[in-house]
Amino acid sequence: MLCLQIAPGMAEAGDYAARIEYAELNHIDHGYDVQAHIDYRLSPTAKEALHKGVPLTWDVTIELRQPGMLWDTIIHNRKLTYSLQFHALLNQYVVQTPFDRSEMFLTLSAAMNFMAAVHDNTPIPAELVAAGKPYLLAVKTQFNRELLPIPLRPVAYLDNRWFLSSAWYTWPIQK
């Protein structure tokens, strides 16, 4: 396993912002596997919307960056989209994974836990990472307001009960 740093912290301003609890970069056969754990939190408004049938979508972005003098160079970029929806008929929560798979859960916490464990099954190619150079692993989850129903969008941009995204969290990595 390469060097990894766990640095939990607050996401974007707001009481219900998601938090990146940790991220890992594991060496596997042909590259590196990213694993992270995100603590999603839903405001009462978001929960109500979910139970009223509004699907909630987060985009988890994973980047591997090479630090530069003025800006970092992104050498690997992945976006994983998770969607959470309530199935009223079955009284279950459905999570649409980035891998075109639906998972049903009896409880909301079970569904959130499932989403929290991010596991990208597409490894970072080993040749992208050179030995002896410093890298940054950056992870964030972005609540996608644009997939909310149209009347809800302006409010979602202004109401902090809809500020469910996290900020960027970066971890220095030395191969």
């Binding site: 009223k52 049938g53 509004v54 008929l89 079955l90 149209i150 009347p151 809800l152």
Partner: protein, 718 residues
Amino acid sequence: MAHSKIKLPASATIILLFGFVLLSLQLMSSATQESSELGEMYSWLLVINTLGSVILLGLVAFNAYSLVRELKKKEAGSRLTTRMVSLFVLLALAPAAIVFYFSVQFLHQGIDSWFNVEIDRAMDDALELSQSSLNQRMNWHIKQTKQMADQLRDKSEALIAMEVGSLWADSGALEIAVFSNQGRVLASSSVNPSDILPHLPDEQIWLLLRQNKEYFAFDPGDNDEMLVRIIVAIEADQSRFLQVLFPIPVRVTDLADSIEFAFIRYQEMNFLRDSLKTSFSLILLLVLLLSLLAAIWVAFISIRNIVAPVKELVKGTQAVADGDYQQQLPVMNQDDLGFLVESFNQMTRRIARSRDETRAAGLEVENQRAYLETILANLTAGVISFDAAFYIRTANQAAYRILHIPVSHFVGETLPTLATMHKELADVLNAIQSLLEKADDIWEQRIVFLGPNGRQELLCRGTPLFSQHGARTGAVVVFDDVTDLIQAQKNAAWGEVARRLAHEIKNPLTPIQLSAERLQHKLSKELQDGSAEFLQRGTRTIVQQVEAMKRMVDDFSEYARPSKKQVEKINLVDLIQEVMALYLPSGIIFSTAFASDRVLVEADPVSLRQVLHNLIKNAQEATTAPCRIEIKIAKVSRNNTDYVELGIYDNGNGLNAEQLETIFDPYVTSKAKGTGLGLAIVKKIVEEHGGVIWVDTSYNGGAGFLLQLPVFEFGNNK
């Protein structure tokens, strides 16, 4: 082209702007539809429209600010622009606000009408019905699964493997599987022979299974079908589990999905009710704002364009009011305002032409007036003009010279007012005033008065002035000092008398005298003593009287004869002192006040000496008390010529008014023995030397004479 605050091609800008506004609003309106592909752009369209509103608001605010500044500066056209913009805003805003208010009301009421308690309940009931139906099916499948588990209880794995197939066939399940609590599959049977491995439970199901010893739930199957997954323990120690997957009929699944979709949709709409109202209201507000602001901005531009010619007209009018008649305004359009501007230009051209003509005429009049003034000023006759109320309007230089008062300084005054200030001229001024008031036609009058230079005689001619309508507009008085002329006439007459006397009287005198002497010579011897003495007395008397007559005639001859002057430069002071020395033995007390010791005049010394003799002798004879004579010499300037003014004052009885009038006439004397030619000869000599003599009427201590002679050189003051 007038300069507007926004310097853009107005028509193109306006069309583009409205096109953009309409497009943006249409896109946003379309984006609000859930089915529209523009939904993804909704937020961007919202931002763009908001930004557009802000920009338009800025433009309107900038124009309003500019207008306020113009108003404060009181620039031309700003008030009209303000009125028109205010009117437009009022007319546009009032109906728009009303429409907006009622639209929002209708919108809110319309959205509220979508939802009511009955529909809520119906939707809940439909969902509950679907759930009951599914639960009922699940309960039946649970019971069925438990029965199958009972059949497999306490059987060996081999036997279980054999019975699973028959159980699957009897149950109608999609898949039956038996696995250990470690997850090892002991037996399975599936409707799909290709499924080698059964659908084993995931970690979450295992967790629930260990907690509850059984698990049953609906699972999403492949191809959007729905399954019922039921897992029960076969043995009480939970060493083996039986999992059965039952299919839900497609029809049931479709119906349930349909109900759930409708329920979810309804719930979502219900949840979004307030957001929907806000969203629609926001869009409506944006539409209103964009439309209104764009209209107001366009109104600013249009009104500025409309007012531009008016503004130019106002500026032009102000320029004309300030006297700039060269103002020409650009004609921007061939409309009514253009016609007005063209008329204005025509008017200013005409005014400029009229002004030039008037100026030329005024110049001509001014030249004429100056010419007349020059003529009047150089006239020897005094001219005074009066208005209808007899106030002095003009007076020339000659009037001052004749009257010795600056009449031109009293323009706007009347002659009586002038008389009160110059009492020495009161008689003549009041006389002229009286003639002016009485006369209805041209009048002529000789007026005699005692001026500062002695007796003066004016020949006055007055002409009343009338307007074309016959109203009296004033009068003009022309007067000339004819004193010298009259005196010259008199002198000429007296000269003629003297010449005749010399000719007619002097000639017989000699024979008379000779005859008397001859009588005396011849008869004195023949007559007796008494008669001879009588004869001698008679002849002596005749001879004496003849001699007296001869002297008188000689004096007249002397007076009438043109003088034979031998002019030379003499010092008047020396001459006076010589003459004074001659009279000192006679007891005359002289006092002198000479401004200079050297006063050179070009004159005949003999004549001047005679003048002095005559004046001093005259003073001596007019004084009974010890005679005191004061002689003064001063320098005066008159008509750009320097004169020496010689004053001789005695302490005698002085002169009365009657004497003053004839003092310089021949044969005028108050003395018993005088011929009355002394002062006449003095005056004659003085005038022959280019001088004047008059009685100083301001002197009251006796008689005073002032004579002025042209001076050649007047030495420095003592």
